[in-house]
Each structure stands twice: as structure tokens, then as C-alpha cells.
């Protein structure tokens, strides 16, 4: 009984975005002409990349398992970044958390220093993330942009409130903007249009659709990503940007991964559960279209790296 497999013919293609280069290792992501890892319809020329989160301040309230895994490296972003590279990171995602008004309120000068240090410590492509407060993001991202001129960093978050200045910095210094919107296909598209209107090339934009962790909104993220990717494949140029998901933070900040006491016995071993929390979140979002997943635990890096290889096989 010969079975005729229905194949989808897609007209669209996800943009290819390059990070790094110019003396630094480079990586290209995106370029899909098919849904994630579905070989029957089209091609996935580049494997999704693993970015590893590195913070410029010792993280407060982290799960003891993360703290134990990274040890002293957490005290110095350069050391941390090197270790992340050893563990298999494709990209370093440096978070300038100390610039948050409630977590140090540092400014452009400190940001410059940190970025310089991390860029010197590793030769991987680098993503710079601000503290998630639009004005402060502006300040530190613009500083980081000039330090990293020509090295094709990715700068985020570029949101409705600050996209002009972040996009302008990307144009001036040859970087990629991370356009972040809250789990909404129309808002995502709209922000891409606004950024392109300023003059940033479409292949210098990544989309962050906003991650809900497992048990905390993952189904919304999962579905909005599937819709964004389907729109891109149908041929909508303004949703054709590769996607990045902040998996580590959104998984490890949940009680299931963080709490050390006062949890029901039915939850089982803490570390095993926490790793599964991050790992399942990552695999699910890779399956719905993530081109970069930002991870936190070294064990998850290894597991997801392996899973990506197998999905690409």
C-alpha cells in the first residue's frame, strides 16, 4: 500500500542573520524554508544556536543548583563567559543587569568596561541584553554598541519605547537588534516594520516573542511562535526574522526550579526536576521555531546541544 506523504510547499524563507565576525567567530542562524526540523517540506540550513547567559552582577535569588554549577565564575563575567564557552556555548548572552535602577543603577561607563572585558575574554559572538527598563537599556546598549563596533553583536531589548535609538546604534555600528514584544503576532510584526522603516536591514533583526516558562505561559509562547513561523513561511517578510527565546531565566525563576524547601514530596528530586524544567522548555520552543535559546545550566547546554544535533540529523 504506497502511502503518499502530503508535502507543504512554502513560498517564504526565514532571514539568515549573521552574528560575530571581524576577528571574532561568526555564526549564521535562520534561513529555514520549512517548519522546525521538518525535512520533508524544505531546508533548515543552519542549526539553532545555544546562547549562555552571563550576568554582570552576581545573580540574586538564583537556584542553589545554578550557583553550585557555576561556582566562583558567577563573580566575574569574563571568567563566567570563558567557562560558558568551554561548556559548549555558541553565543554569550551578556546581561547588564547591574544597570537596573533597583540592582545597582550603573550606567554607560560601567557597561563599556564590562563589555570590553567579556569581548576580550571570549571569541564567540556576543549578545548584549539591558536590564529590561527601556531608558536604561538605551543607555547601556548604546555604550555597548560603540565598544563592539563592527563585531556584529546582537543588542536587546529593542522594544516599542526605545527602538529608535537601539536601531540607530545597530545601523551605525553594524549590529543586530533584538526586537522584543509580549507574545503577540501583530505587535511583533508592527515592531519589525517600525525598525525597518528607520533603515535597519531585515537581516539585522532577531525577534524575541517573550518566553513563558513551562507551567508559566509556555503554551502561549509556543503557539505565537508557530504562528509567526507559519506567517514567515507563507511569505510575510515582516515576520521572517529568526527567533530568540530566553529559556533559562524563565525556567529557573519558577518555584519548581528554585525553591529548596516547602515543596510537596510529590515533586521529587529537586535538581532532576529543575533540569527537566529548563530542558523541556528549551526543546518545546526549538520545536516551535526558536533559532537561539538562551540557557543557564551547564548540564542543559550539553543536553540541548545533543538534542539539536539529533533534530538536525
Amino acid at each position: 500500500m504506497p502511502v503518499e506523504i502530503p508535502v507543504e510547499k512554502w513560498a517564504g524563507k526565514v532571514n539568515e542573520v549573521k552574528l560575530g565576525g571581524n576577528g571574532r567567530k561568526s555564526i549564521v542562524i535562520g534561513g529555514e524554508t520549512t517548519l522546525p526540523f521538518l525535512k520533508i517540506d524544505g531546508a533548515m540550513p543552519h542549526r539553532p544556536a545555544i546562547a549562555v547567559e552571563v550576568d554582570d552582577v552576581m545573580p540574586a535569588d538564583w537556584s542553589p543548583h545554578l550557583i553550585a554549577a557555576w561556582g566562583d565564575a558567577l563573580e566575574d563575567p569574563a571568567v563566567w563567559a570563558k567557562k560558558a564557552a568551554e561548556y559548549g556555548a555558541d553565543i554569550i548572552a551578556l546581561t547588564l543587569d547591574s544597570a537596573h535602577p533597583e540592582r545597582g543603577n550603573t550606567g554607560a561607563a560601567e557597561a563599556k568596561k564590562t563589555v570590553e572585558k567579556v569581548l576580550a575574554a571570549v571569541d564567540l559572538p556576543v549578545i548584549i541584553i539591558g536590564p529590561d527598563v527601556a531608558e536604561k537599556d538605551n543607555e547601556v546598549l548604546i555604550a555597548a554598541s560603540s565598544v563592539g563596533r563592527g563585531q556584529r553583536l546582537a543588542l536587546g531589548n529593542c522594544v516599542d519605547k526605545n527602538y529608535r535609538s537601539v536601531a540607530a546604534a545597530c545601523i551605525a555600528d553594524g549590529h543586530v537588534a533584538i526586537a522584543k514584544t509580549p507574545i503577540d503576532i501583530n505587535l511583533a510584526k508592527q515592531l519589525n516594520i517600525l525598525i525597518c522603516d528607520i533603515g535597519l536591514a531585515p537581516d539585522a533583526i532577531l525577534m524575541d516573542p517573550t518566553t513563558g516558562g513551562l507551567g508559566y505561559g509556555i503554551e502561549y509562547t509556543y503557539s505565537v511562535m508557530e504562528r509567526l513561523r507559519l506567517a514567515a513561511l507563507i511569505g510575510d517578510k515582516m515576520t521572517s526574522m529568526p527567533m530568540i527565546c530566553n529559556v533559562g531565566e524563565e525556567s529557573w525563576r519558577q518555584k519548581e526550579a528554585r525553591a529548596t524547601s516547602g515543596v510537596p514530596a510529590t515533586w521529587g528530586d529537586h535538581q532532576e526536576r529543575a533540569l527537566a524544567w529548563e530542558g523541556i522548555t528549551a526543546v518545546s520552543l526549538l520545536n516551535s521555531g526558536a533559532d537561539i535559546v538562551v540557557l543557564q545550566h551547564p548540564r542543559t547546554i550539553a543536553l540541548i546541544k545533543d538534542a539539536i544535533s539529533k533534530l538536525m540529523a
Binding site: 502511502v3 513551562l214 528554585r258 515533586w267 523541556i280 539529533k310
Partner: protein, 450 residues
């Protein structure tokens, strides 16, 4: 699959005899397609036409029930490729594999643990579905004894795994009344397995790793032998082949209405993975990507919980969040002097807070505002959780009658509401709680006095 009026009309007698109460057969067919009247209202419908219509209106993926009256799993009958298109309806069964060679005592201990695993989440009770018992011993009596013992310990849905029809028969003698899933009919033993499935009215797995062509050939033979309740086993599937093969199967069923492969799928993620950690990741993928029954090689609550959560998330209706009715909820046995907290009516939010309050040692009042099922920040950003809404809820639910003090604790993530709320609730003390619910206990210890 809904049939169009024209498709139905083709099967009618076309005599326009009017006995159905409609002027013409075509008019009648149109009404049937709109589900306004049952096809049985045509008095002259032939047996063959009725059978053809029934077959054509069958769901593209057959609904399969495993298990008896006390506990069962229903899988299949999905109608979309992507959950946003409508919803995923029948969550995959998560089964733990047991081997009949293991010491019975150890097996029964696991059975007990699995059966008693109940995880509270969002007000729901999550648990695993049952067991897949493998006839590793290759001995019929040992297999039957193990199945009988497991069933006596916990009457959960079972998958019976043996290539040997004699062993299967022995195990079915002990368990057939609770409709176990028979694993599996292959091209070597299908006739005997089909007999057993019919005799005991149990669903049957068609297992054929060679290709989908051969799998379809096998299901057709089983259909011809009179077995309709089938589950597909397309062979061991790693990350990539699982995604590709299961997607193809779903597409064939939904887009081509390809009956021979229109059945739910069973997977064994451990078969292709090298470690328990990896098995869990593949199982996670298979929950979202089209598995009907997932057999896990080992039981661990630490991985069962995230998988059950994943299943819950993927199979919720994307159109409406799970929500609570707004009101004032007593947590523990609060007194008028107990703390008052306010939150939104998204179930996930409510239960995150209620659980922590319960554990805090402070019986409390929890005021739940109607935010149309949105979380704290989502509702705030959407203008559905502001000072005015909170003040209105305080009035609407007559909070002042329940409590003797005038303090209200708001979620830390909406600390900005404090000023406006002081305006809205004159004479009240507005307290800003911590951002995360898990910090409520320590917050109350520090800041709640009376």
C-alpha cells in the same frame, strides 16, 4: 469529518419519496449536513449506504479507549496540526514500563508509587495513566502472574507487551475486562493477535518499523480481520524521525483523510535515547508533537511532574485561559484580623498565591478580581487590574464585613498601584507584597502584625 450535503446526497435513494418530511432527497441531505436531522430519518436508506456514510463521517483519527470503567485513557480524535487552529483535545497517555522479570515486590512498589502520585496544579489533580508490562521473561505464566498482580495492586490502564500470542492470551485472561492495549500485532503474528483483540474486545497496536507503506498494509489486514480499534507503532523514533514521522502521520490523517493510518500513535522515547534525562526531553517533544501513548522506561516523580505540566499546557484551550470566579476566598480558617491579599482570577495566578498562603502559617483572605483570566502583569498591562478595579472588588464582595482591619496586600509586581489605591480606598493601608508568591510567607512573618 463533516460531510457536505452533496456527498450525503450521493448515498440517498434519490426517489424524493418525502417520507423523511422533506420535499426532496437533496433538501434532506442539506439538513443532515447541517446536523439538523439524523440520517436515520430516511426510511429507505440501504444498509450499504448507511455503512458508507458512517465510515465517511468517522473522525480522521480514531478515538481509542484504553482501560476499564474506573480509570481510562482516551486518545486520538485530534482535528488540527497546530493547537492555535482550534485545540488539542485528548492528552497523550503517560505510561510507566514494567518488566515481568523484575522481582514482583519491587514492581508492586513502583505500581503503588505511580498510582499514588497525585500532583496538585492549578486546582487540578495531575497523575500518570498506567503501566506497560513487558513479557521480558518470554514465559506465558510469568507474564500472566505479573499482569494479574499489577492489576490487583492498582486498576489503571495497561499496555500488555509480548510478541507471543500465547503469552498475550494468558495475560488477557487476567485483565481483559479492563480493556488493556495489546502490544503488538506484527506482520508475523497479526492473525493471532487480531483474534485475541476481537475475542477480548481490546484495542490493538499495529507495529511495523519498516515503512509507513507497510504499516498501512498491516492496519488494513487488521481491519479486514475485523479489528477497528488500532494504535500505530511506526518503530523506534529519535528526535528527528519522531518529529518527521509523527507529523507525516498526522498530516495523512487530517489532510488526506487516509484511513489506514488514522489512528493514535504509541512511542517509546527510551528506545532511541541514551540517558533518562534525554528520554524526558524526547517525551516532552512527543507530547507537543503528536504522540497518543508515551511509554516511559522509568518512574521518577521529578520528571513526571514537568511532563504532566507540559501535557496540561499543550492541551489547554488556547482561546480561554483556565480561570477562577472572582470573589473573596478564605485560605485556611482566617479570622477577621487575618491578612488580606489581592490577586487576579487567572487560575495559575490564584493557585500560585493560595498555595503559598496555605503554607505560610497565616490563614488569610484572598480577594480575587475579575481580570478575565489574565495574570497580574498581563492584566495590569491590559488595563484590567488597576486601583479602580481593586477598590470596586473590595466593595462588590463586601470585604469590609469579613475583616476587622483595613490593610490590603497587593502583588509586588504592581507596586505602582499603591498611590492610586490609597486614593481609591480612603483610610486603608496599602501594603506592597513581594514580587513572587513564594516569598509571601517570609513577607508576612516580617510585616504582618496583629
Amino acid at each position: 469529518m463533516a460531510l457536505s450535503g452533496i456527498e450525503i446526497y450521493k448515498h440517498l435513494p434519490k426517489t424524493n419519496c418525502k417520507k423523511c418530511g422533506f420535499p426532496t432527497c437533496l433538501a434532506f441531505a442539506m439538513k443532515v449536513s447541517q446536523k439538523a436531522i439524523a440520517i436515520t430519518a430516511c426510511t429507505d436508506l440501504s444498509e450499504t449506504a448507511r455503512a458508507a456514510l458512517e465510515a465517511a463521517s468517522r473522525p480522521p483519527i480514531r478515538l481509542i479507549t484504553i482501560g476499564g470503567d474506573s480509570r481510562k485513557v482516551e486518545v486520538g480524535n485530534e482535528v488540527v496540526m497546530f493547537r492555535h487552529e482550534k485545540t488539542f483535545y485528548h492528552p497523550p497517555g503517560l505510561m510507566i514500563k514494567l518488566k515481568d522479570t523484575a522481582p514482583l515486590e519491587a514492581t508492586l512498589k513502583t505500581v503503588d508509587e505511580v498510582a499514588n502520585l497525585v500532583i496538585d496544579r492549578v486546582g487540578l489533580k495531575l497523575s500518570l495513566d498506567g503501566f506497560a508490562i513487558q513479557n521480558e521473561s518470554k514465559d506465558a505464566a510469568t507474564f500472566a502472574r505479573c499482569v494479574e498482580a499489577v492489576k490487583a495492586k492498582a486498576d489503571l490502564p495497561l499496555v500488555l507487551m509480548s510478541p507471543d500470542p500465547a503469552a498475550m492470551e494468558a495475560a488477557l485472561e487476567k485483565s481483559a475486562r479492563s480493556r488493556p492495549l495489546i502490544y503488538a500485532a506484527t506482520k508475523d503474528n497479526w492473525e493471532k493477535m487480531a483474534e485475541l483483540a476481537k475475542k477480548h474486545s481490546c484495542p490493538l497496536v499495529a507495529s511495523e518499523p519498516a515503512s509507513l507503506d507497510e504499516l498501512a498494509a498491516l492496519t488494513q489486514k487488521l481491519n479486514q480481520a475485523g479489528v477497528e480499534d488500532l494504535v500505530l507503532d511506526p518503530g523506534p523514533q529519535g528526535f528527528s524521525s519522531s518529529l518527521n514521522t509523527l507529523t507525516q502521520l498526522r498530516r495523512l490523517a487530517l489532510k488526506k483523510s487516509f484511513r489506514p493510518l488514522g489512528y493514535p500513535i504509541i512511542t517509546f522515547p527510551a528506545e532511541t535515547t541514551g540517558s533518562p534525562e534525554e528520554e524526558v526531553l524526547l517525551a516532552g517533544q512527543q507530547i507537543a508533537k503528536y504522540a497518543g501513548i508515551i511509554v516511559l522506561s522509568r518512574f521518577s516523580p521529578a520528571t513526571a511532574y514537568p511532563l504532566l505540566t507540559m501535557r496540561l499546557n499543550m492541551y489547554t484551550d488556547p482561546q480561554k485561559p483556565i480561570q477562577m470566579s472572582p470573589g473573596i476566598y478564605p485560605i485556611g480558617a482566617p479570622k477577621p484580623s487575618s491578612p488580606l491579599c489581592v490577586t487576579t482570577n487567572f487560575s495559575l495566578t490564584y493557585f500560585s498565591v493560595a498555595t503559598e498562603l496555605e503554607a505560610s502559617g497565616f490563614p488569610s483572605w484572598l480577594l480575587v478580581c475579575d481580570t478575565e483570566g489574565l495574570s497580574v502583569l498581563t492584566a495590569w498591562a491590559a488595563g484590567k487590574f488597576d486601583a479602580e478595579k481593586i477598590a470596586k472588588s473590595v466593595k462588590a464582595f463586601n470585604v469590609e464585613a469579613s475583616i476587622s482591619h483595613r490593610s490590603i496586600i497587593i502583588p509586588g509586581r504592581v507596586a505602582v498601584l499603591r498611590g492610586e489605591l490609597e486614593e481609591e480606598l480612603q483610610g486603608w493601608k496599602i501594603m506592597v507584597g513581594p514580587p513572587e508568591a513564594m516569598e509571601i510567607g517570609s513577607y508576612l512573618k516580617r510585616y504582618w502584625t496583629n
